[in-house]
Assembly symmetry: C2
Homo-oligomer: 324 residues x 2
């Protein structure tokens, strides 16, 4: 699986070599800050691996891959304002380190820079790539809006939740592989199957994120365990517990989520206690595996070199087996 | 000058016919709200008139023109959050009518929609148009950042101020005509001259905006007279007064701008009194005319049908002679 290491190095190098403008510093310092933070870079990886899968010229996918990473970072900058999130990837968020005006504007700038890179490819590819890019960008905004709406919604169904994470997270993974496939000139059916693979994997990936927040490992994940609970986030775990719990458990859960005086630690422990009683962990793992298997079936249907498809399988397997 | 009325009707129709998505309404209602507010639509007008000037196919410029109007509206939505501006075009701003989270996110969505439209043109034109579009978008963000920096800066020179409005306002007018010229397949030198025309006119236009805020007419302008003064905005008028004033006038002006208890009306009257003593109005009009004449010289240098250039001259003349 040398390809994986090779592309990871390539993306890191590409990002490091970006010659960001410097003036005004209030605008560009936050951009340099978020782009150099690291993160998993999984979206551009998906783009390059998808392009390679069809034997495509990787130079056609490279800047669109960077564009997707920039777009992703831009959404995090803006989301953190709306979510009032102080920490991201173990470091202060832009709105916290600077202020929300700077976070709005440096985010906007990074969004435009993403588009600049998305057009750095073969002329014939610009239109189809940008169509996917813009459509996806709009869907991600819709997903974030649904996520915000859920904060104050009286009731959120599991279906509504899945649709929200599909828009907010999964379609961008779908777009990442789709753009790689377009850059390689893949056939229409394979592009569609690969997109479905990316979306299903994205759903599994987000459910794992919900799970890791509660059952993950702090050191490796860089987030407070139970951060979603502390901030009353209606995750899949919470919504599933509301569905499965008896009257008393539901009442207790809602009470805990609306309690403003309880210490975070105490609240998290009590919520997790209910999750454990209801075996929520297994419930989430089961749905996650369902989406993961679905993603593999879509990948199987893609017409491409079998050894290269195997690289993609290994890559997703590694992501799927992160720390939980 | 039928062309002007014809294109104005065309743009209005194009905007009215947009079939915006509806869900979630929190995201799309603000977009529909700002796009239907009217405004002068002068940027898309510049694009269409520029395309027509070179005998270009107007259908190649139409959606990029809409893209520029959407981009402009997006920047207003975000700027109004940062400037805490409650009123725009005589109506409540998005952040005020809804909230700042919704203003951030519906703005982001509108930005992506702008790009969607910018690619709705002939395939060969997408790359050059998007290059201008993205470069300009980034410059507009830089201009807004400088504008915000000026709020807390101890000293702002007139040169810094002009550079700020060049980035924040003028380059977008330059881009509007440039994109129209690109869509028409104009020659390189004419494109450059037309861009210079747009930027110079944009500078004159913004200086006029500063002037109208103080010496304009409320009914037609839809803004409170002296709004810039009330919000301590360091306009060209203010900075010029600081340059020309004697020690006492400078001291008085700075004191008025830092006075938080004075009634807005009283403050505006006293600031305008100093402006009048120093003949600031004439100073601004003189610089405005300089930029306006410069824009006309650049337009003269453009190689195009003389009758069509005349349409552009009439259009800018009408804008230049708005209400002051």
């Amino acid at each position: 699986m040398e390809k994986i290491a090779e592309y990871q190095a390539l993306i890191t190098k590409l990002i490091d070599l970006q010659d960001y403008k410097k003036e005004p510093p209030e605008l560009y310092d936050p951009i340099i800050y978020v782009m150099s933070q690291g993160g998993k870079r999984l979206r551009p990886m998906f783009t390059l691996l998808a392009c390679d899968m069809f034997g495509g010229d990787i130079t056609h996918a490279l800047y669109p891959a960077l564009a997707i990473e920039m777009f992703h970072s831009f959404t995090l900058i803006h989301d953190d304002i709306m979510d009032k999130a102080p920490i991201r990837r173990g470091e202060e968020t832009v709105y916290k380190k600077w202020n929300s005006d700077i976070a709005i504007l440096s985010g906007d700038t990074l969004f435009a820079m993403a588009y600049q890179n998305a057009t750095q490819t073969d002329n014939r590819l610009i239109k189809p790539i940008l169509e996917v890019f813009s459509k996806t960008a709009i869907e991600v905004c819709e997903g974030q809006q649904y996520d915000m709406n859920f904060e104050t919604a009286r009731k959120v169904s599991l279906e509504e939740y899945i649709e929200m994470i599909r828009l907010k997270t999964a379609v961008l993974i779908g777009a990442s592989v789709k753009i790689g496939a377009i850059a390689a000139g893949a056939d229409y059916t394979s592009i569609r199957n690969l997109y479905d693979f990316g979306v299903s994997f994205g759903l599994a990936f987000q459910l794992m994120d919900d799970l890791l927040d509660v059952y993950g490992n702090l050191e490796q994940f860089g987030k407070i365990r139970g951060g979603d609970i502390a901030s009353n986030k209606k995750t899949y775990l919470y919504l599933k517990a509301l569905e499965l719990g008896d009257k008393e458990q539901k009442k207790q859960l809602k009470k805990l989520y609306s309690n403003k005086r309880l210490q975070a630690d105490e609240k998290i422990n009590q919520v997790v206690e209910i999750y454990n009683q209801l075996n929520i962990r297994n419930e989430v793992v089961s749905l996650m595996e369902q989406y993961y298997k679905e993603s593999l079936r879509s990948l199987d249907a893609v017409v491409a070199d079998e050894r290269k498809k195997e690289v993609m399988r290994v890559f997703t397997w590694q992501l799927y087996n992160r720390n939980y």
